[in-house]
């Protein structure tokens, strides 16, 4: 009997595939949010596994802040070309042009918060009734309390104190007109699980995750990649540094770490010995202790 025991990665995989299939069965028009980051790449890989040999029965959607590292976009486009699945791109720039949101000003200006409006508008315009994403409960305190199937009211808002109880593996995706769901198939995965799974499955990643030389500067103790989207202060010196990214978000608020980890094995070793969470390099979370909770209530991913 003892042979009938799955390893933790296989059990997490089976759980995620089960959740993704529930989404396809319970919703009429779901979408998989895809940022080009490792978590959404793993989610997409799991979705392909869930429906093999058929194609993934829903499109992918990228909410593009316009402030991406070019490597992310190139990777995204190559991946979609290879698999032949459908990709929708929603542009934050369009929301700005339409006057739906106003661009932040100053040195720490970021389009991260503006994404929420673009995302909610795109969900409404495409009539999506469920948006799947690669958020994990170990990332952040407010996310630790999120359900797999997370209800959103018709304003796209999350009510953390009034969540539906979620028992066993029975997911209740019933909703009224105008409401939608956010579903998180890899809720139970940790950063380490993701890396181990990527290694085990041989999943391709954007090169940003691996050690490389890049023009960087240091702000508030965080290494930032120099791009056209950030204005540096006079005292901030731009120099070549050997870095890699632990998360890939908007280039204006995603910090890099000094690292020589050039392979997945090196990265796993680094993650195992590191003493700072991966979101520790994200200035968007540092705005206040409840920054994520506030953004999620408004409808942020």
């Amino acid at each position: 009997m003892s042979n009938y025991n799955l390893t933790h990665l296989r059990e997490l995989e089976a759980e995620a595939i089960y959740v993704i299939r529930e989404v396809a069965a319970q919703f009429e028009n779901p979408v998989l949010l895809f940022s080009g980051g490792k978590d959404s790449i793993v989610c997409y890989h799991l979705a392909r596994k869930a429906f093999f040999p058929a194609k993934v029965p829903f499109p992918l959607m990228h909410v593009d802040t316009g402030h991406n590292f070019p490597e992310t976009i190139e990777f995204r486009d190559n991946l979609i070309k290879k698999t032949g699945d459908r990709l929708i791109v929603a542009h934050v720039q369009d929301s700005i042009d339409q006057g739906r949101v106003v661009e932040e000003k100053g040195f720490n200006a970021s389009r991260n918060k503006l994404q929420t409006t673009t995302l909610l508008d795109a969900i409404e315009a495409n009539k999506f009734d469920c948006a799947m994403g690669g958020a994990r409960r170990d990332e952040e305190k407010a996310r630790a309390k999120e359900r797999f199937f997370s209800h959103r009211d018709d304003f796209g808002q999350w009510d953390p104190k009034n969540q539906r109880p979620e028992l066993w593996n029975i997911f209740n995706g019933k909703k009224n007109m105008g409401e939608h769901f956010r579903v998180f198939p890899i809720s139970n995965w940790t950063e380490m699980d993701i890396w181990q799974y990527i290694l085990h499955e041989g999943i391709d990643l954007p090169m940003l995750y691996f050690s490389h030389t890049r023009k960087c500067f240091v702000r508030d103790g965080i290494i930032m990649g120099k791009t056209d989207f950030v204005i540096t202060k006079d005292e901030e010196e731009i120099k070549d540094m050997v870095v890699r990214f632990r998360t890939i978000g908007d280039a204006t608020c995603t910090g890099a770490v000094a690292s020589t980890a050039g392979t997945l094995e090196d990265i796993i070793e680094e993650v195992a010995s590191t003493r700072v969470t991966e979101r520790g390099g994200r200035s968007d979370d540092k705005r206040s202790e409840a920054a994520m909770e506030d953004r999620k209530k408004e409808g942020y991913f």
């Binding site: 009938y4 995989e13 396809a24 869930a50 630790a144 309390k145 940790t190 409840a290």
Partner: protein
Amino acid sequence: MADSKSYLDMDLLRFTTAGSVDDGKSTLIGRLLYDSKSIFEDQMEAIERASNQKGEERVNLALLTDGLRAEREQGITIDVAYRYFATPKRKFIIADTPGHIQYTRNMITGASTANLAIILVDARHGIVEQTARHSFIASMLGIPHIVYCINKMDLVDYSQERYDQIKDDLEEFSSKLETKDIRFIPISALFGDNVVNRSEKMTWYQGSTLLHELETVHIASDLNHIDCRFPVQYVIRPQSAEHPDYRGFAGRVAGGVFKKGDEVMVMPSGFTSKIAGIDTMDGEIEEAFAPMSVTIRLEDEIDISRGDMIVRPNNSPTSEQDVEAMMCWLSDKPMLPNGKYHLKHTSRDARCMIKNINYKLDINTLHRNEEDKEIKMNDIARIQIRTTIPLFVDRYQRNRTTGSFILIDEATNNTVAACMVI
């Protein structure tokens, strides 16, 4: 933390923690995370800052798990929070659930998927009402292993006599539970005694530390590998040039072991066929068992859709429209007598009517009240329902997947009840 080489040997233990308010659950989890080096520097800095702001004398480890703003303000856990850590032996998922009665529904949520429950008992108070309630819920939800942590030993001078007394009481009380694997550990979550490291103050205790128990408890037989149950979740039909006639039935094995060539029966039609193959994107596999997600192909063309179940002809669940179950009511809106509700059981959707409330159970005394038929939030009752279509059910204590279902309010779409088939 696990190194990259051992990760393919690690398995996964899901456990839940329960205790009354102020029993130190959050402190215990904080201690497990802290002493097993699963806390990162920036998390530690954040709670040090928060502890200082509140003027507390030592770093409050409980702040690690109190995620939502309202909780930090009130200093209590108001929802299920999930935490993760790993040792070289195992990966752990903790469902941290609140103790006070109005949040029993959250404890049930956390307990529903757990392999093991840690129930905290305050060494000063011994068994209290909530200990009984939490034990009963853990047992009712079919958690195979319970560990009682007699906490705050530091406040009773690490007294062996006090520990033995509580242990005796707990042993007597827990003999009435369905759960058979029950263990006891004297700890101090605040100072870390017997959590990850052995206590120097309680040399009289010869047993394992809590972490050691968590790392070694045998969980491979927790799932049912005898009765074959495969609820069909989704039908895969690529209709592509490459796979013009492919028809696969996707789902997650809920019990038993399915092998290529096995004779199977499909419910509700009763048609039989043989397994032509078990597919995954990594290729065909020889056998599938719980909780694997796979796609099964059959040799014959049978009309099968979501909600059907693939089983073995000589071992099938009962097909029932009249079901008896233990139910926990989860909604602040009371149950409607003879009310109609939407029902979800495995991948099957139905409607049902509450036919009868046999009794309401006082979970503190286990007294059965047959007179009181008013079911409110957190009440537990034995009920009879009638469903619009047959459900394929097993007893919950035999199979936690095919023995469980939820009720949904048709007006609000809220999940209002958790039910376990008797």
